[in-house]
């Protein structure tokens, strides 16, 4: 919404208030002013001139030598190149010393030997937007249609000195979508008188009833419809003041018949429509829902296909307008129009919104109907338009408007006590202060002691409940004046849940290991949603998908974080960042059976590392990432949170290296996986060796027991023993460890692999694996022969189970 300050001044006295200050006051009180435009030009050296004589320049075919009366004793000679300049015109003359919006300074000059004392200006040269310049003046100078005072400053005449506020209106303040509403608002802020129009017309004896009848088929979609016939009209250009008003609001003047409806729309917020009565084709207006698939051609020349949720204005047969949105081509006002059917109606906001959004037709009219116009102002707006048709187009108003339906409105009353307002704002407003605010807002009210009953007028349709009144008092009292307090109720302990606390600890741990936290999108492609899904997630169902995705890039909800993390790695590698370690902690979305059942959101953490991990080149150290770097990070995480051991079980998963992948098993249950990307996948992403894990954090958290089993530190020494076995290369360390652990009880405490060897001096298909074992008895000093006995038992069992040989 654009609000002209000059226009606003017609209704409320804001003379002397700087526009910036006004804008800030409006913003702080209710409606955000997004910007202040203008003034475009306000220069007293730019004046009205009268072309007394105009003849061709003696030395230039395309130039004219004009003798211009600029209100001084002598005529000014001005050289003008415009093709439309002529004797007898009132024009805008920029005198020497004037400065035009482009920065051009006007000076006395000689043009092809002839003196020129200024410049006759086009509207564009005066800073008027090209779209507001009438077609016939686009290539030439501006010429006043009416007689104007010679020598008078021209900028105010053309409203170039105006400033315009650009409002960012919230949907509740539809009352400010018009000049009268803004006048109420400003008058309330500054406690000023209001001067509002009170239109009157001379009604002819002839009755509109003889020309038109109105029938409403659906009162919900169209509660009220008024039709007024105005005859004897003459189509012409609107007077300058009216054109100025429209231009200040961003609307292009067309002709008087159309401009008047637009003017009233801006002034009252009531959209009106003028049909050419002679082209309407019947004596009856029927408003009705469209038939399924019915078509009509709107003013913009487009054929629209309609549904029963759209409301049509018809002549009983043919549609002539999509109600509240746009008129039809057939009954458009044209240059030969003499009689109009003026429509003043109330259309249901939702009906208009459906039509305007489905047909992508947002207009000044639909914007107002959608937010709800003021029911009680519909007739007054018609009266105002009729007044202007009479005054500016010579119209004859035929009797009373033909009406159908009602503009009555369920009255709203809001009853409250003074303390209810103060308790919600945190203030101590007195009865006087509250009365003053209500007076300024011009809200009818009754006050008896502490008790108030406010009856908001229909222009303030947003005021319905106590809390709406709280806002009115708060904003008029001023948010700046409300004190700063903190709630004083009972105190809470606040804080984090166990899950939230553990989540923070996972973040802290992973960051300490050197991983950077990443954030990727939850919505991914259909293709990516199928990959790297951990096997414990049931994936017979497709990932959750959007009904209407904007792009295939974000159509499905992720089942693993890994695919998008890999895209992040690829993004970095493409920018020459090769050594990367990322993790992301967040939800994946598991589809649930049944329509309209929420997916199950599972908290997972995933990581991906690539490039060099240890990098200390001047000491000769440069180690790429490998499986055990990432495994070490995971083991650290498990040791930190869990007493139970997580087993890494060799596995073969899609997208991963078949020899370098493991499932993570916690108490026999799969909770995720770790592995190297399959070389093909690495190639697809332009990545070197890359390792990933994807872990179900909820399952991990379920096993966290935060009360440690304390064990007193023993004073008896431990005995350390080394054992090395030669076994078939396929036997895993874990398999041997399990036997060692079982056989080493009750004194075996720890097992640690300290050497693995395969290759030279070792039989083909065999490997040597060496363990360091610690034995300890917490009760007494362990004897050598007790350890020897356990050691022997271990050796025999490993040998027997895996055909192992003891080495060295």
């Amino acid at each position: 919404m654009l609000v002209s300050i000059n226009w606003l001044k017609e209704y409320v006295d804001i003379e002397g208030i700087p526009t910036g200050e006004l804008a800030e006051a409006i913003t702080k009180t209710g409606v955000e002013v997004d910007g202040i435009h203008g003034p475009i030009l306000d220069d007293e050296k730019i004046v009205v001139g009268y072309v007394e004589a105009c003849e061709q320049h003696p030395n230039a075919d395309k130039l004219n030598l004009c003798q211009v009366n600029v209100g001084e004793d002598e005529l000014a000679q001005i050289v003008c190149g415009a093709p439309n300049v002529a004797q007898g015109q009132y024009v805008v003359a920029a005198r020497p010393g004037a400065r035009l919006p482009g920065g051009l300074k006007i000076k006395k000059a000689k043009l092809r030997g002839e003196a020129s004392e200024g410049m006759i200006c086009s509207l564009q040269e005066l800073g008027v937007d090209e779209k507001f310049v009438p077609d016939h003046q686009k290539d030439g100078i501006f010429v006043f249609d009416e007689e104007v005072q010679i020598g008078e400053p021209a900028c105010p005449l053309l409203n170039l000195d105006d400033q315009v506020l650009e409002l960012d209106l919230t949907p509740n303040r539809a009352d400010c979508l018009n000049m009268v509403g803004m006048a109420y608002e400003v008058a309330a802020i500054y406690n000023k008188e209001l001067q509002l129009p009170s239109p009157t017309v001379t009604k002819a004896d002839e009755s509109s009833n003889d020309y038109i009848a109105v029938r409403i088929e659906n009162k919900e979609m169209n509660p009220y419809y008024g039709a007024w016939i105005i005859k004897d009209l003459e189509v012409k250009s609107s007077p300058l003041w009216l054109r100025n008003r429209l231009i200040s609001a961003g609307i292009r003047p067309i002709n008087n018949l159309v401009d008047i409806t637009n003017y009233v729309l801006l002034e009252y917020g009531q959209p009106l429509h003028a049909f050419d009565y002679d082209r309407f084709g019947s004596k009856e207006v029927v408003t009705r829902p469209a038939h399924e698939g019915e078509t009509m051609t709107t003013l913009d020349g487009k054929e629209r296909t309609l549904q029963p949720e759209h409301l049509l204005i018809t002549n009983g047969e043919k549609p002539h307008a999509l109600a509240g949105v746009m008129g039809g081509q057939d009954s458009e006002v044209q240059d030969d129009t003499t009689t109009i059917l003026l429509e003043a109606a109330y259309f249901d906001p939702r009906t208009v919104r459906k039509a305007s959004s489905q047909h992508n037709l947002r207009s000044e009219a639909s914007a107002r109907f959608e937010k709800g116009v003021d029911l009680t102002r519909v007739k007054e707006a018609a009266m105002r338009a009729a007044e202007l048709y009479e005054e500016l187009a010579g119209g004859t108003i035929l009797g009373e408007m033909v009406e159908e339906g009602s503009t009555d409105r369920e009255p709203v009353q809001i009853t409250f006590e003074r303390h209810e307002i103060n308790e919600r704002i945190g203030t101590e407003l007195s009865i006087d202060q509250m009365n003053d605010i209500l007076e300024r807002l011009r809200l009818p009210y009754e006050q008896q002691g502490e008790q108030y009953t406010v009856t908001p007028p229909s222009r303030r349709n947003d005021l319905r409940i106590l809390e709406d009144m709280v806002e009115e008092f708060a904003r008029l009292y001023g948010y700046d004046h409300i004190p700063y307090t903190l709630p004083t109720g009972q105190s809470n302990k606040g804080g984090l849940t166990k899950r939230q606390r553990l989540t923070r600890e996972v973040h802290a741990y992973l960051q300490k290991t050197g991983l950077n936290e990443a954030l990727t999108y939850s919505l991914t492609t259909e293709e990516k949603s199928k990959h790297f899904v951990s096997p414990e997630i049931q994936t017979d169902q497709e990932a959750v998908k959007l009904m209407m995705p904007m792009t295939d890039l974000h159509s499905h909800l992720r089942l693993s974080v890994i695919p998008e993390l890999l895209s992040s790695l690829q993004y970095n590698v493409a920018r020459n960042q090769y050594n990367l370690g990322f993790y992301e902690l967040g939800s994946v979305y598991l589809p649930n059976e049944g329509k309209d059942v929420l997916p199950r959101e599972e908290l997972r953490v995933a990581a991906a590392i690539t490039g060099i991990w240890e990098n200390h080149p001047w000491q000769g150290e440069k180690k790429p990432v490998d499986f055990f770097v990432l495994k070490g990070i995971l083991e650290g995480l498990f040791n930190y949170f869990l007493k139970d051991e997580v087993i890494f079980e060799k596995a073969n998963l899609d997208g991963l290296h078949p020899g370098r992948t493991a499932l993570l098993k916690l108490n026999g249950e799969t909770v995720g996986y770790i592995g190297q990307l399959h070389p093909f996948v690495q190639k697809d992403h332009d990545l070197d060796d890359t390792y990933v894990f994807d872990l179900n954090l909820e399952k991990v958290f379920n096993h966290v027991d935060e009360t440690p089993d304390y064990e007193a530190i023993t004073k008896y020494p431990a005995i350390s023993q080394d054992l090395a076995f030669v076994v078939n290369a396929e036997i895993t360390a874990k398999e041997i460890e399990d036997i060692i652990y079982e056989q080493g009880q009750p004194y075996l405490k720890t097992i640690r692999v300290f050497d693995v060897y395969q290759g030279e001096h070792m039989e083909e298909g065999k490997k040597s694996i060496a363990f360091n074992l610690t034995f300890q008895n917490n009760e007494r000093t362990l004897k050598d022969d007790e350890v020897d006995e356990l050691r022997e038992r271990i050796i025999q069992k490993v040998k027997a189970t895996y055909q192992a040989e003891l080495r060295g």
Binding site: K28, T29, G30, G35, T170, S357, E370, E423, R424, I425, T427, E467, V470, A474, Y479, D480, I482, P483, Y484, T485, L486, P487, T488, G489, Q490, N492, G494, L496, R504, H507, L510, Q511, K512, T513, G514, L515, N516, E517, A518, L519, T520, Y521, S522, L523, V544, K545, L546, M547, M548, M550, H554, L557, Y571, N572, Y589, D596, L598, W613, N615, H616
Partner: protein
Amino acid sequence: MKERLQSIKQEAITEIEAADTQKSLQDVRVQFLGKKGKITEVLKGMGKLSKEERPVIGQLANEVRDEITASIEEKADLLEKQAIEEQLKAETIDVTLPGRPTHTGGPHILMKTIRDIEDLFIGMGYEVAEGPEVETDYYNFEALNLPKGHPARDMQDSFYITEELLMRTHTSPVQARTLNAHEGRGPVKIICPGKVYRRDTDDATHSHQFTQIEGLYVDEHITMSDLKGTLNVLAKHLFGEDREIRLRPSFFPFTEPSVEMDISCKVCNGDGCSVCKHTGWIEILGAGLVHPNVLEMAGFDSKKYTGFAFGMGPERIAMLKYGIEDIRHFYTNDVRFLKQFHQV
């Protein structure tokens, strides 16, 4: 004998001086003080001396032995010091060479911003509440006073999954869920962070996925001034003690009155500059008193209970605080971007 001792002493001192290693010094010690050493030899020959001479020579011999011992020890110290000095010299390193890098990861700036706000409110007795990112139409809209047909719930603005399910468009449904769970009994003090989704085309200032953090406080006697005081604490915590705040009226379906909070522009200190579009103020968040419909739908008596709610975008806060120019940086994970915020 006397002369002999004097000459041994001279001889010993010369040899001690000549010794240049601990080993050669040890040889000197053996040569003079050892069991077969020269002093011992002299002492062995004492039997031949007269009764009068014996104590005199004996004393002299002891003195010579002590002097030699002292000289040897002194020399030993000296040699040790020299040896250490040489060792230290040999061990000298270039301290300007780079150290071995440790692995330094860090948090994402958005998560850090969220946690910072969480911690501020935890300190004031709030709990952190979370909820699903895929929501029912009821919690995302209806329970927040956005009935069906409301302009703000246009299909064009949200990612629907079915007619009844959608990607949440704000974190406010967590408020509705939490209020419901409290079964009409206050106080409710929560701070709700999370991811939200809107039908926007990604560009420098729009992202189809972004984060929000909201606060809600419902109790008896909660006022607009409590909201103002709380937001003042938040604004100063986030942007510095010298920031001023201002509230101005706005509109949200789930609060009434609704306000927006601006802070005084930190670039121009309120004088007006391009950052604040010459207004002196920068919009930070939306807030208001919880709409009575929202309270009633969740089973709270809106005559007894009032509450305030506020919500903001961590992206916007981080962008303002650090001058980040493009919202997409938060989601492309350029490591050169991420690492800049590990220290803040």
